[in-house]
């Protein structure tokens, strides 16, 4: 525990040490009580973080997404990719034609550190080049690497020859 008494100068110690009575060892000493107090305050911070998440979840505005035509069927070849922005001009997304009559679209932002993912035709996967995170082309689920969440999926609707983005799943507005 911290001893507040000033220790008497030892024999042979210089005079300045007696006058300037700051003792670094004592300043730096952390008692177990101080450590537990610090840990308790950290625990309070963690609890506050959880409460903040609850408030964010309660007061979250219902998401509304615009209907936007993003491509025409047949515009891209099988295995081809088209980039588009949805639901706002800041969000880059990626449309992939996986077979003759099948299209999938995902946010291009990796859920790990927001690097842009690309489609590898050879491996039929979405790959993040930054940390080699890989996502399934079928549902955007994580296959390997550091990301823990699936890629946000753009919900598509086909109207005649038009492919229309109507919403997103697995995504929260910040």
């Amino acid at each position: 525990m911290v001893d507040n008494k000033t220790p008497a100068p030892r024999e042979g110690e210089s005079l300045w040490r007696e006058e300037f009575s700051v003792f670094q060892e004592r300043e730096r000493f952390v008692s177990r009580r101080q450590l537990v107090k610090f840990l308790t305050l950290t625990s309070l911070g963690m609890f506050a973080g959880n409460v903040w998440i609850v408030f964010k979840a309660w007061f979250r505005k219902p998401e509304s997404y615009p209907r936007e035509a993003i491509a025409r069927a047949g515009e891209i070849p099988v295995g081809g990719v088209k980039l588009f922005r949805y639901p706002n001009p800041k969000e880059q997304c990626l449309l992939v034609r996986t077979s003759e009559d099948e299209y999938v679209a995902y946010s291009q932002k990796c859920t790990h550190l927001s690097c842009a993912v690309y489609y590898s035709r050879e491996e039929n996967e979405l790959i993040c080049p930054c940390h080699n995170g890989r996502f399934s082309i079928r549902d955007g689920a994580v296959i390997q690497g550091p990301p823990t969440r699936a890629l946000p999926h753009v919900v598509l609707e086909r109207q005649g020859q038009e492919l229309i983005a109507i919403g997103m799943s697995g995504k929260l507005e910040s």
Binding site: R33, T40, F47, K56, A57
Partner: protein, 69 residues
Amino acid sequence: MRRRTTALDGVTALVILLLMVQVWLLSATLDAFLAGHTDAALPGAVFSGMLFAATAGLYWFVRHIDRSR
């Protein structure tokens, strides 16, 4: 004196353990929230509050031991 020191060591270790669980809980809840699953938010906060209460109780115990010297 020795028993008191052992008790303090035990309390410190327990508090560190509780804090590690709380860190994991916060990261898991945040991850679920960012993935669009808000169901885990309330149970996460309740459990985190219980862990904080336990930690605060242990801190109170340490203070009590210190004062009783």
